[in-house]
Symmetry: C2
Subunit: 217 residues, 2 copies
């Protein structure tokens, strides 16, 4: 599925990095552990919050405290932008100008909607499954915890994706400069589970953790 180009999310800078395929959006969002969500207050001052999130088919789900001013602005329908970015390496070109990052980035524009009732509980369950994949047995949120949590959904309607996965692209005139050029990859790797200091009963980390997909960040 390819989305039609939109004016506000048409990539103007480095347009060759833009990917229009919806599956690329899903892949970036499913790999990212946080999304940076912006909303402006009544003075026009934007705030950018890093939020854990989950993609639920055609929408992005975030949660936070109902007491958060930013969440109240979002829930009230203020225009927002959510951007998720993973840096995959440093591209070392012969010129400083062409040096850059390898990265995957997705930007979504739109308005969040607050979820309530069953929809809210289902979204919280999905967040738990997404943020702790394969880790079962957590105590589900109590009524009080659900009430203290704002759960918001942003439709994946207006979006753009940029992926830079390539090699240095130097000007031909720079190619014989007597220096190295290439990529220093940045790997994001899950480490050995660390037991909680107050762990009881000799429980060990779920085997699912060992199979968590790498490359998330």
């Amino acid at each position: 599925m390819t989305r039609p180009p939109r004016t506000r999310t048409t990539v103007r800078r480095l347009p060759d990095k833009q990917v229009l395929d919806r599956s690329a959006l899903d892949a970036v969002l499913d790999a990212a552990l946080v999304v940076h969500v912006a909303v402006a207050d009544e003075t026009g001052q934007p705030f950018v919050l890093p939020l854990g999130f989950a993609r639920d088919r055609d929408r992005l789900i975030v949660h936070g405290s109902t007491a958060s001013r930013t969440f109240r602005l979002l829930a009230a329908g203020a225009p927002s932008c959510a951007t998720a970015t993973i840096v995959d390496g440093v591209v070392v070109a012969r010129s400083q100008f062409e040096s850059s990052y390898r990265y995957r980035s997705a930007m979504v524009l739109g308005t969040f909607e607050a979820l309530h009732g069953n929809a809210k509980r289902e979204a919280l369950a999905l967040l738990g499954a997404r943020l702790l994949p394969g880790i079962d047995g957590r105590r589900p949120p109590s009524d009080q915890e659900v009430a203290a949590t704002a759960v918001l959904a942003l439709p994946l309607d207006e979006w753009s994706v940029k992926i830079a996965a390539g090699d240095p692209e130097d000007n031909p005139a720079d190619l014989d400069r007597p220096v190295w050029a290439g990529v220093i990859p940045l790997q994001h790797v899950w480490g050995e589970p660390i037991d909680a200091p107050d762990l009881l009963g000799g429980h060990t980390a779920p085997a699912a953790v060992l199979g968590w997909p790498q490359g998330r960040a």
Copy 2:
């Protein structure tokens, strides 16, 4: 150095995670490879751009294309927010509600200023040294490349830092739940340098790359 509390950057949610020491701000900014910068357009729609950046003492330096609409808004003095976040792991509590991330995050509010002339060239040189530490010999930007690049500085005046480096903090009533609890660390590791396909002359990656500090992301 500890900054005085400010209303707009006083952490209201999970205030025990707030760190007021200026050295903590510097450490987070110096570890982060990208900063998510927000600015709103004339309709109030915010945009969040991931940008490579460098800290230069008491300011944050970003660069981008002079043709970028977002950079023009920033250079015109629109209020902005720059947030840098590194996820260091997943905290698996006995309850879903207390499960979360280990992370380091810094937020800076303020107004960018466009740099020109020598200040612009010096800031570009600093960006190069910061983004490619120990990698010398790149061709410096030409006059044309400098002219095509917008270089902006944001003072580190109004800011907040949140660091979550701890263990699960479950309610006492949840502690004997028969499940594992702990932390899955997320490590950010530089990999083996990859030669550019068009590399000439048998140059090898600078040794400095092997000493790049880990934990950046």
